[in-house]
Symmetry: C2
Amino acid sequence: MDFPSKLIESAVEEVAKLPGIGKKTALRLVLHLLKRDEEQTQRLAETLQAMRTNVTYCRKCHNLSDEELCSICANRKRDASLICVVEDIRDVLAIENTAQFKGLYHVLGGIISPVEGIGPSDLHIDSLVERLRSDESEQVREVILALSPTMEGDTTAFYLQKKLRPFKVKISTIARGVPIGGDLEYADEVTLGRSILSRIAYE
Amino acid sequence: MDFPSKLIESAVEEVAKLPGIGKKTALRLVLHLLKRDEEQTQRLAETLQAMRTNVTYCRKCHNLSDEELCSICANRKRDASLICVVEDIRDVLAIENTAQFKGLYHVLGGIISPVEGIGPSDLHIDSLVERLRSDESEQVREVILALSPTMEGDTTAFYLQKKLRPFKVKISTIARGVPIGGDLEYADEVTLGRSILSRIAYE
């Protein structure tokens, strides 16, 4: 595209660097900003800069945080005997939205994936081991592995389980099976097969 | 969603104000920026601000421009005897991409639409009339109406044609008919009917 304005052109180029946004969408967004108050663009630019400069990672669970200790780790009402291990911050948000978990988290920052060249040393696994080792009052009772039910997720879970075995903690994974509200006939064979093998007693 | 970081929360909120971007997409974009260099966010924010603050409109054709006169109006190689009237800057880009038009433009900045409360006075119609009136050397020979073939486009074209009749210029509209490469059986009846009525001599 041949833009009549260099300013527009560079703005479109920068916006189009974002994932899932092509040149046409970028132009639409830029023209939208031009139609709105100058203040809105100002605010967008400023919050993005402030976010990128000031957001940090919790020194305990590696969750994104504004402080050295994130609001979840700092909350004394949360159950410190449970640690839920997740891949990234989006999983924390997803689990928080269920309102079913009151423990703490540990964000790995990724998942073991030989294909993408991500090994255990690239993840926050050592700090999880350290968290359990330094837990002298044996406060932690259970580590829940909440990883995606994929090959990579299973590999990571297997690796973690081996690393955590020396400690006196229960290790569990989130339940896998047919999704609630889903029609049985549309469930894939692997999921359905596994849900039969790992059936649970009816209460 | 309950964010662990206020900085992330406000960034997501601002990004989600853009059209077609929901909260989940906004979060994905914000997390993407966090993974990339701080410099990228900086550049994105700065180009957006520079664009919003400095982009202006060409005083002649109302196209977006960095200068008082846009690069198309300022280009002496363009054919000043042709003026192509379009709805907005995206149409200018679309026509420029065809590389078939070497004249000048006039951007209306919208289209007459009683439903949305947009009347002729909200558009740059007076300045088009003024452009023709001040054209003392009778340089302009033809005004091409390149408006969308919709009810609003047709209304605007009709209004313009009435306004421009007093001047000694040819008025034309872009051809309407079956799109090139399209299968005839899939063309809608109105388009196909019109393309039969306004058939052209085979050369």
